[in-house]
Amino acid sequence: MNVFLAVLWKDLLTEWRDRDRLVAMGIFALLVVIVLYFAAAPGVGSEARAPGLLWVAYVFASVLGLNRAFALELENEALSGLALAPADRGWIFLGKAAASLLLLLIIQAGAAAVFALAFDVAIAPVALPFALVAFLGALGLCSVGTLFAAIAVRTTFREVMLPLLLLPLMIPVILGSVRATNALLLEEALPWPAIRLLLVTDAVFLIVSFISFEYVLDD
């Protein structure tokens, strides 16, 4: 548990000192929103498309952030230092994933505000349930995302490898999140099947990643 808090604190402190990952993710999410605004021809069923487009921005921003999560660790063999920590590597995974999750949640809040303005959708009245959906979706993204980032960073095409590994596995997370967001924007109750899908997916991804991280860091 101490290792979890130490890794989380280290990642947040590093991020606070240069803030490059957060800024890059924020600008990227904003750019995606702008590009989607022009690509989606607003006005023609834009309300129906808005949840999907919003989650596209989240997924792309998260891939960008996750790619950076381990890039810093490669300098001065810091990753080997992490691997040598006398603790279960699952806790190191949880620390890294929690740091990425917190950053993504900040980006999600900012992007949702911009998205609400750009696409004229009312997210503010459903802010709390939307925050729950965003959290569950982000948890799914950051759990296996952190595991695959640790793999991708040590491949020859690291920037390309992460989306290739991550996106085919993200369909349950994206589908559940988009369905739930869609229901919220239509002022309906939170759809239980979508929330259940997100909960089950998050649990499976967390367990698989927690156990597998041991083998990914085993150099």
Binding site: I151, M161, L169, P172, L175, R179, L197, T201
Partner: protein, 241 residues
């Protein structure tokens, strides 16, 4: 040095599977040609005898990839990694056949090449997962690291299959895929060619898998001998091996 026991077993099994595949293919061909025509779909329905058995072989390949990966992580024996990588390659081949035959059948019966149907979409996603698996293997340096990374990804890829089914079902994807197989109600005279198709696909899968494992084994041996030669300070000529 005489070859060790596993070195002899795999090529022998591979040769035996060639004979088995030949026999199965002849029986299968005769049964499919003589199978009755479907009253609604006509001759295009016969693609069922290729499409579904190939899907079975593809899923078997991905299951074996995860099992091989899990065994590698447990035992750290390279042979399990070679087994997993070979199963993934053969699985991707059969999955590609499913994705080619499916749209041809779909065009003939549904009038469309593609539909975001539950099983079609899950199969496409699985295809992409295992293509990424193969890419991961080729983009990772070091045999041991490649094996570890691939094993983790192969297991994660298998874990997501039931989640994908659940997700796409939630999105209303269970729409136009033939339901008759779910009920087990194949028409009269269709059961035998279908069952023989399944047997032939599994034999073909085994044949390709054994062949691929043998190639992987030979490659590993070659790499080992090249490393030995370099240690001895050979001049790089192939005759040093």
């Amino acid at each position: 040095m005489p070859p060790s026991s596993p070195d002899r077993v795999i090529p022998t099994l591979h040769r035996a599977s060639t004979v088995a595949l030949g026999v199965c293919a002849i029986i299968y061909g005769i049964l499919v040609v003589n199978a009755p025509l479907d009253s609604e779909q006509g001759v295009i329905q016969k693609i069922l005898y290729i499409h579904v058995p190939c899907a079975m072989a593809a899923y078997l390949g991905f299951l074996l990839t995860a099992i091989g990966g899990g065994l590698y992580l447990w035992k750290r024996d390279e042979r399990f990694d070679r087994f997993a990588a070979s199963a993934a390659e053969v699985g991707v081949f059969f999955c590609a056949l499913v994705l080619v035959t499916g749209p041809i059948w779909g065009r003939g019966t549904w009038g469309t090449w593609w539909s975001w149907d539950l099983r079609l979409t899950v199969t496409l996603l699985l295809f992409l997962v295992y293509l990424s698996y193969l890419l991961l293997r080729s983009f990772t340096e070091g045999t041991e690291r490649t094996a570890r990374f691939a094993a983790v990804y192969g297991i994660a890829g298998l874990a997501v299959i039931p989640l994908n089914y659940f997700a796409i079902d939630l999105a209303g994807g269970r729409s136009i895929h033939p339901q008759n197989l779910e009920g087990g109600s194949l028409g009269v005279g269709m059961v035998m060619p279908f069952a023989m198709g399944a047997v032939t696909a599994i034999v073909a899968f085994s044949h390709l898998l054994l062949g691929r494992i043998d190639i992987a084994r030979l490659r590993a041996q070659l790499a080992e001998r090249e490393a030995e030669r370099e240690m001895r300070g050979g001049d790089g000529s192939p005759w040093d091996i």
